[in-house]
């Protein structure tokens, strides 16, 4: 090995090491076969290119050209009749054999189905995480909920759940006065509670103002008399009578489940429905996490 070779391979090694370092620092699981094959592929790219190129560049130093020249000559350019480099020819054969394997056994052209493979991936996933999910305690659920929230909900609610200055619901309090007033005025019939619809205009004028201020204030202090109109459904404590109507005092699982499944259109804007994109465990995790945001 001479200096050129060493420098070249060193470069390739540094590149690979840097890649693995960065990937590792992002907590990537390098036992995932896809990740592993990719890393091997990357090593092959850097190593083979550098190795082979330098082998030939070395020959510029050490070898001499020669061979039988062809008769033709174009603008002063001649052509030797040398044989094929054997490494090249055998590699061609090698890739052809690999190709056969890939078509017959790796991804058989007559049988492989990417959707079939996907179904198996999902099945394997479900078995792997079933246990974790079944026995999840509150702390686990909360962590799980946070990571789901950051991926799925943060683009609207913000990474801290503060609703990005009124662009979506602010989870650091329960509701703003404007939101409550809006519901009182318009009623609501979209979340899917057993109680069904909440009629509009249950309270008006100063009554509505008082109620809204009370609810937005976290239902502390003296309860306005007009709140009786609400208590019949939401309970005197505002907790929604065990899931019959919305809990307006706190976040609970019923509320999060109903909103995530059905979406919600309100004073601030529209929250999309996630239909079946969340599993019950994930929703429970979200609820557990969101409850902690109010502080």
């Amino acid at each position: 090995m001479n200096a050129l070779m060493i420098k070249g391979l060193l470069f390739a090694a540094v590149l690979i090491a840097a890649t693995i370092y960065v990937v590792k620092s992002m907590n990537i699981d390098l036992s995932d076969p896809i990740n592993i094959i990719t890393i091997i592929g990357a090593i092959a790219i850097a190593g083979l290119t550098v190795g082979v190129a330098i082998k030939y560049i070395n020959q510029m130093k050490t070898d001499t050209s020669g061979g039988k020249l062809a008769d033709e000559n174009w603008d002063g350019i001649g052509e030797y009749l040398n044989e094929l480099p054997s490494g090249w020819a055998y590699s061609w054969l090698g890739t052809a054999i690999w190709a056969m394997w890939y078509m017959i056994s790796g991804y058989p052209v007559n049988a492989f189905s990417q959707i079939g493979q996907y179904n198996e991936e999902v099945k394997a996933y479900n078995t792997k995480f079933e246990a974790v999910h079944k026995n999840a305690d509150t702390a686990t659920l909360q962590q799980m909920g946070e990571s789901i929230f950051l991926v799925q909900c943060a683009p609207c609610h913000g990474t801290t759940g503060d609703g990005l200055s009124g662009k979506a619901h602010d989870f650091t309090t329960r509701m703003s006065k404007a939101q409550v007033l809006d519901v009182i005025e318009k009623g609501s019939n979209q979340l899917g509670y057993p109680m069904g619809a909440m009629p509009p205009m249950m309270a008006t004028g100063q009554d509505a103002e008082d109620i809204a201020a009370y609810v937005a204030g976290g239902m502390k202090g003296e309860q306005p008399a007009a709140f009786a109109a609400c208590a019949s459904c939401h309970g005197a404590d505002g907790k929604g009578m065990n899931g019959m109507a919305a809990n307006i005092a706190d976040y609970d699982e019923a509320l999060i489940t109903n909103v995530v499944k059905n979406g919600k259109k309100g004073a601030l804007g529209t929250m999309p429905a996630f239909h079946d994109r969340m599993t019950p465990v994930q929703i429970k995790a979200l609820a557990t996490y969101i409850k902690t945001l109010k502080g």
């Binding site: 890649t19 190129a53 030797y80 991804y107 990417q114 683009p155």
Partner: protein
Amino acid sequence: MQSNAALEYDYSVAKLFTYTTILFGFLGMLIGTLIAAQLAFPELNYLLGEYGTFSRLRPVHTNTVIFGFTVSGVFATFYYVGQRVLKVSMAESKFLMFIGKLHFWLYFIGALLATISLLLGYSQSKEYAQYEWPIDVVIVVIWVLWGVSVFGLIGIRREKALYISIWYYIATFLGIAMLYLFNNMAVPTYFVSGGLGNIMHSVSMYSGTNDALVQWWYGHNAVAFGFTVPIVAMIYYFLPKESGQAIYSYKLSLLSFWGLMFIYLWAGSHHLLWSTVPDWMQTMGSVFSVVLILPSWGSAINMLLTMKGEWNQLTENPLIKFMVLASTFYMLSTLEGPIQAIKSVNAIAHFTDWIPGHVHDGVLGWVVFMIMAGLFHMAPRMFKREIYSKKLLEAQFWLQTTAVVLYFTSMWIAGITQGMMWRAVDEYGNLMYSFIDTVTVLHPYYAIRALSGVLYLVGFLMFAYNMYKTMTSSRELSEEPQFRSPMA
């Protein structure tokens, strides 16, 4: 006519295309550098109002470097190399002279209109085929004119057997002609609807998955027949000519050529892995991509072996340096591409920055290096002056080499990281990273890439300046150099 008499070749068309190569190369890479900077520093999106966003400029970048710079370079070298290896001067045929000039001027006007149309937002939104139908028509005419030049020159040639470079130029002509026509098939809505709406607008002839298939049958091979085949044509002429060495092996040239032609076209579906095209087609794309390594490496190895025993040329002649490094980058990208085409690897690589990384190994390290080396070789012969400055050439070489290495290492790391982050799940099986996490982590790599763009662009300006001085004010030559290009 005496077939051995020294010929006075006519380089007027080659010169014209040389100018546009430099012009479009500069513009294209300037925009490339700007869009690279925009990803690192998004405020730069607002320099030119709605015409200056990353998204509006990206196709301007790709089209200017492909159809402006690269294609100009292909034409320039063809009008130079073609005459010489066919041993016939354009001056011998008034007709071909006329076609050549017409070819150039139509090309130049077409290129300007095309660029303006993209800036205004006229786009078919198919990669590398964005130009709307009126521009496509102009492009077809330009291509036909080039075909007339190619086959016209061949028709009046004195050299009976075609040199390897000519094989590759012919293949370039045929490949692009076939692919471009099929992929750009579209119905102009103005005429069908009886004169409603914008006359530039059209709808693609194919829809959905079929459109994707045709697009990437084209897209992959636009790369093949735009960034590979004609560049191989160049290296097969310029490297042996500049070095005075005979090509290492005819057999290797032959197998590489026909192997490349046959295999290239099958590989397009590697752009559609895990998409909705049938599974068997995807597998074919993967398989043929890997086999493709060999015919690609065949040409590169043939070139490296041609330089066997010529170490001193490598150290003394910067043009040889450019070409040897170009071969090496060609090897890098034609190994990297096939590996990215393996299904498991593509599951990560696709959609990430590793792909633009792969792209720019090829284009910056191979295409641009080869075109610049070719033009440098041509300049003393076309302008009858020596190359203005060897020092500048050396400096340019090291600057641009550094730039390419920075570009591809940063995008390599960025792409692999991002691809793996998208897949990562936490201990509970939920996605570990939000999308924006996978964007912010790329910032340092985007910044390095922008820096590499600046370095590369400065290198290109050094090239342009050196060429300009060579054309106008360096020492005149009394006779044409046979092999090595003289430089001060």
